[in-house]
Amino acid sequence: MQRNFTHVLLFLGALPTSVASAEAPIDFNRDIRPILSNTCFHCHGMDEATREADLRLDTKEGAFADLGGYHPIVSGKSDKSELFRRIVSADDSEKMPPPDSGKELSDAQIELIRRWIDQGAPWKGHWSFEAPKRPTVPEVKPTATSGNAIDRFIHERLASEGLEPAEEATKEALLRRATFDLTGLPPTIEEIDRFLADDSPDAYEKAVDRLLESPRYGEHMARYWLDAARYGDTHGLHLDNERSIWPYREWVIKAFNNNMPFDQFTVEQLAGDLLFKPNRDQMIATGFNRCNVTTSEGGAIAEEFRVRYAIDRVETTGTVFMGLTVGCAVCHDHKYDPISQKEFYQLFAYFNNLAEPAMDRNKPLPPPTLMLPTPDQQEAVERYKRQIALLDKAIDAELASIDYSDPAELVAGEPEPREYVWFDDSLPEGAKPLGNENEKSWRFVGGPKYPVYCGKSVATRKAKSRSQHYFQGVEKGLLIGESDKLFIHVYLDPQDPPRQVMLQFNDGTWEHRAYWGEDLIEWGEAGTVSRHHAGPLPKQGEWVRLEVDARTVGLKPGTIINGWACTQFDGTVHWDKAGIVSAIPQGEEQLASLAAWEKVLKGDKKKLAALPKDLQNVLKVAKEKRSDAQKKTLTNYFIAHVHPDYRDFFGPLAKQSKEIASRLDSLEKSIPGSLVMKEAPTPRDAFVLIRGEYDKHGEKVSHGVPAALPPLPEHAPKNRLALARWLVDPSHPLTARVTVNRYWQHLFGTGIVKTSEDFGSQGEWPSHPELLDWLAVEFVESGWDVKQLLKLIVTSSTYRQSSRITPEKLEKDPDNRLLSRGPRFRLDAEMIRDQALALSGLMIDRVGGPSVKPYQPSGVWKAVGYTSSNTAVFKQDKGDAVYRRSLYTFWKRTAPPPSMATFDAPTRESCTVRRSRTNTPLQALVLLNDVQFVEAARNMAYRVMVEGGDSPDERIVHAFRLATGRRPDESEVKLLRQAYESQLADYRSNPASAESLTKVGDSPRPTDVDVAELAAWTTVSNLILNLDETITKG
């Protein structure tokens, strides 16, 4: 019993105090439904599959049903109610919840249920499913601080708890609070001074207006939204490669800065692509539902992931706009809320038809995407395209006038073989001479001392044992045809005859050899094409023509040789005029023959691969099977790019066209793009997926919304646009409440509904239900005006209270849920870093653009990255990029920036509408040691030395004001001065340390101040940046 007694006390301690008194009326939704939901609905709720005893306690019908003479609940009579009998039963076989369920009711809960039944068991639908109506603003005794309607709701509740609101915060504290809340940054000293000097009654209101108009406002608001939208700069799964969707982030910033009404904001993000003639911005907005994580893992089954993406989109939409955990109905009916599994898949149907391949192919822009040129870029693209078209037209006109026929095919039947000389007095174009004497191996000499067979000179070699001259690398090689012969002329010196002569041909390898005479050169394998014996040594003292049948050395038709070697063993040999006897045109003539060119291509994969794709495709088709159009394509290309006769005309045109095309290409590559939503042309059927498994189709379903929520308008189209418009219909009970609650959470740290992600029956009861409804109605009636809503809240006296906690308030309102004081909590990760950048003067305040990579310890990506991922190696940016606001920091989702993650920034792998807020030693290490905070400290130090006056005390006051907005008191100044002096003494005696500390980071070290002083001020600034007050919004 003692144990239970503790429970009663604790339970009452945690409950709204009004329930604690025995006679206070019980509110079903606040007090009873949560108990039933948590304890009973699992077996007696929505989910038919797990429902026991055919009993439902989540509906009024079920709870009061006639079960054959008895009823679960009999209004006003707990002793006649079966439900009550069972929960107090001592018999384990009857007791509810069953002892083995792991659930148990406390005595306090049982007592509450008893009193509720005895008070008549008033039943209401779950509160958040009923549309909010504007409640009457309570009449409260005016106090010094009563401001707007918000305060009257808050004060009424405070009065009922016997609490007084706190006094107004100091002007400095108030301006700092509002500046952080509306822009994510601290106020400047000028802004503080101006505000302090402004005695007009609307001074604060003017400051709020100024903040709402700052471009920093949109950035700050966007940052919260990007958590909800699960925005990231990588795909998030497996390789986690880079993704390009930052234009969506820019859209969000712009939308907030332009104060886009929230209904429009919703519709454009969920269904911008389905609007009538959507403009570019409306398309970019749909990136909201392209932010989910995707994969391209080898082996992954596409349908499995396509389904997962759609589920993620439904869940995210459910959480962000409705505060509902619809994802609980993926595998079975929702256990607590009225969402059946079928209804989940009806919502799923809206997201089931995207024109998106499931595998992102690890590319930055997996389709569907939108390219986003600037007007200038667009103009340039069009201009280039026009120019290319003009050139094409000129080329086409000329081509049309050319009547081409292939010289190789002019002669009927087999063309006659002809002799083509490859080299005579000099080597062919592009040949690289090589041999025993390297590049000097080819000795061309003329008569009369030497015999010359043809032309002016002859290549001569005198050898002892094996010796050779050869060349390779000729661009226009010899194309081998059927039964072709390669030839050369030799003159063996009778005074000094060789023992062996050899020819070698290179078609990529040198394994094609023929020799005459003895078998002394041991290359290749005797008796094969790599060492073919062609005959005895030719006659000495006269010119002899040596001929090699190409086949005998393994040169198949279609191959091209581009190297030739003349090798001998001993003696003196003169070599002259070599070439091929072939039926295929060679050299320039070859280039005039389409057939010959094709053969060249067949032997040269590289050349082939360099051709335009369509041409390659034509070439893949067998000659006789080509259509006229294909033939035309081929011939035209050949004439325009290959045929020598037309080179003078087409050459310059082609060159120009190529240049423009390459300019166009690099321009197009520089144009950013963004992922967008787009429907596939043919609708895809949606099914209930049994147990949520992608390949287990159940009943076929159509688009629809849960029955517990307002119906869609009649004839609503079956698309996302209808869903989006339904969400922002003023009759929708959730969207406005969920939204205003989230803004409340931004400002006060906790929402009116603490579980801002769950407004269902497992969610927490609102601390001020009437206020929530009043704000929701006000918001909708204002035209979903976000700035107006924020202004309304931040100008309330509730918001303007001092955040000082009295012992009484710590006792009665420990978590400040009653708002008996102003909000006080640690700044978010991004605000802490942005503040340091702002105070140091390093911050670059440019809005928008692609993500940047500021400092990060090395190895963080490498430790986890897939080896060949394009985000496996982190390369820090330089210059301005290092000092941009944190919402522009590149977000790799499988390894988010560690200094941010340490301060509870989410990984952005899934939708987050509420961050945790922890207090850890690792946070201390970041603030004390991270290069970006140390660099900020030393720049702040310099700033303080320059701006802050001459005496240490003046500088301390300046630094303190920068960071906290207020002037330090004397004891604080004293503490900091002592710290400064002891640091200064240390650095004076240790200049090397001062030197190193003042060099941390990329920014240059100022040269116009004393290094030891700068180091000491750096340490003091670092201390100030670590103050609880500095990293807290209070």
């Binding site: 659930k103 990984t907 945790s916 290490l925 503490l975 002592q978 060099k999 670590n1026």
Partner: protein, 487 residues
């Protein structure tokens, strides 16, 4: 304790250590109260304390070392001996065995599923007679200290979902990892080191290694304070641990003293208990600046001890060096140490790469067990070894007697456990002759996780966290403790 006093005590604690955000509502609060052993909410806990005031069950292991082989090591070439497969070389896997089970799209297009028997020799080891392949000659000597589960299975067939699944109980990102649950439930036992530490090892297989993800040691919806802290082999061992250049420990101490005084003044002025917590956290940070370097300095380890782990123990970042660090952390009562070793995704050239990989781990993990045992630490430290799934009996790509590859196989694979709570020398579960299907005592990865928690004194069904209206737990709505492997 007098209930009223206890209530007041809790209330005070709540005031002092409150404000960490949790999703616990009034009803949830009431239900949490009904559980013996659980604190009222996470908000009531002091920094470093777990949510459980005492474990649900007798705590056989106080700490855990988890050796995670990322990529999916082949059970067929290490532990699951299938001698009859020799006769099946290059024959097709019978359809009656595959039974139309889904395959990854890397092999689902293969025309054949030719069987690749392991080319490695197996022997029975120790008293227990556990089959161990020749690839693990050192490990064979501790066969009697470990317990094998040959019937582990999962549903995920690709790395990202599979590793996320075994580490967090769910295939999609967003849930807390095993180590985070332990930190949340049991808290820290050392006030100068984190509760959960993660180590990344270099690897030798010559292939692209599968990625890891910070979610594998992340906290999902639990407060981020429970996230695994990476102990790095290069740069600062813990991120941001070192003072900036030019700042001495003495100077840091002076600054922290001034900082604490200023923060105390703020606390007096505003009365916010969170400020006191912050002061404590700065002190712990300061202690970590000494305790972590001390932890990673292995110069005091005898050559005999180093020898246990093999020659690579002195190369930072190797699996060997990490195993020794794991022991040093266990000595210092770090709650959970997880060592990742990548490179096990052997789709091709498996014999080449598995030799390299086992060379990385064989001696160090054996040394770790021996070292823990000789110090009496194995008694209350659980050691777990395994990957995210197994590999197929049929070959992917080229198949010769000495070269083959294996695709992912989620339907059965082997893991082993040793130490606190585990009955040594047991082999549990059995697969068919193709190591394709489980034929006896299947152990789902949820069962495995339930068993790990059980060894640490946690009832996996009772360590929960309310998020989005649901009480989440590591094992989702599944999991049965595998009693057969428990001591």
């Amino acid at each position: 304790m007098d209930p009223i006093q206890e209530f007041q005590h809790l209330q005070t604690r709540r005031h002092f250590f409150g404000k960490t955000a949790t999703g616990i509502g009034v009803a949830a609060l009431a239900s949490l109260l009904d559980r013996d052993g659980a604190r009222v909410t996470a908000a009531e806990t002091k920094p470093g304390e777990g949510v459980l005031t005492k474990p649900h069950l007798p705590q056989k292991a106080k700490r855990v070392i988890y050796l995670f082989m990322s990529g999916g090591p082949s059970q067929l070439d290490l532990f699951d001996y299938k001698p009859t497969m020799k006769e099946w070389f290059d024959k097709d896997l019978p359809e009656s065995v595959r039974m139309g089970q889904r395959l990854t799209t890397m092999t689902s297009g293969q025309k054949r599923f030719p069987i690749a028997p392991s080319m490695f020799k197996f022997k029975q080891q120790g008293q227990s007679g556990a089959w161990i392949s020749e690839l693990l000659p050192n490990f064979a000597t501790v066969a009697d200290d470990v317990s094998f589960i040959k019937s582990v299975h999962t549903e995920a067939i690709n790395h990202d979902p599979a590793i996320t699944y075994i580490q967090t109980g769910h295939q999609q990102p967003g849930r807390p990892s095993l180590g985070a649950w332990l930190s949340y439930g049991l808290g820290r036992m050392n006030d100068s080191l984190p509760a959960f530490v993660v180590l990344h090892s270099s690897w030798s297989a010559r292939r692209d290694a599968q990625a890891l993800y910070s979610r594998l040691w992340g906290t999902g919806f639990l407060p981020s304070v429970h996230a695994g802290v990476s102990l790095r082999s290069k740069g600062d061992p813990v991120l941001y641990l070192s003072n900036p250049p030019g700042v001495s420990r003495k100077s840091r101490r002076n600054v922290l003293d001034a900082l604490a005084q200023l923060n105390r003044k703020q606390e007096e002025a505003f009365g916010d208990p969170e400020i006191n917590t912050r002061i404590q956290q700065y002190e712990m940070a300061y202690r970590m600046q000494a305790s972590v370097p001390d932890l990673v300095d292995i110069s005091g380890e005898s050559s005999k001890v180093r020898d246990l782990y093999g020659p690579e123990v002195t190369t930072p970042g190797t699996f060997a060096a990490n195993c020794l660090l794991a022991r040093r952390m266990i000595e210092r009562d770090v709650r959970c140490v997880q060592i990742f070793h990548r490179g096990w995704d052997q789709h091709g050239a498996l014999p080449r790469d598995i030799r390299l990989q086992t060379r990385d781990i064989d001696r160090p993990m054996t040394g770790l067990i021996k070292d823990l045992k000789s110090r009496g630490l194995l008694e209350d430290t659980l050691v777990v070894w395994g990957g995210e799934f197994g590999r197929t009996i049929y070959s992917q790509g080229t198949l010769t007697k000495s070269n083959y590859g294996r695709d992912h196989h989620p339907r059965c694979y082997t893991m082993w456990m040793a130490g606190g709570g585990i009955k040594p020398g047991v082999t549990h579960g059995k697969t068919d002759e193709f190591s394709y299907n489980v034929v006896e005592n299947p152990v789902h990865i949820h069962d495995l996780n339930a068993t790990i928690l059980h060894c640490l004194g946690i009832d996996h069904e009772r360590l929960t966290y309310r998020f989005q209206g649901r009480d989440f737990r590591l094992t989702d709505v599944h999991g049965h403790v595998v009693n057969e492997v428990l001591a």
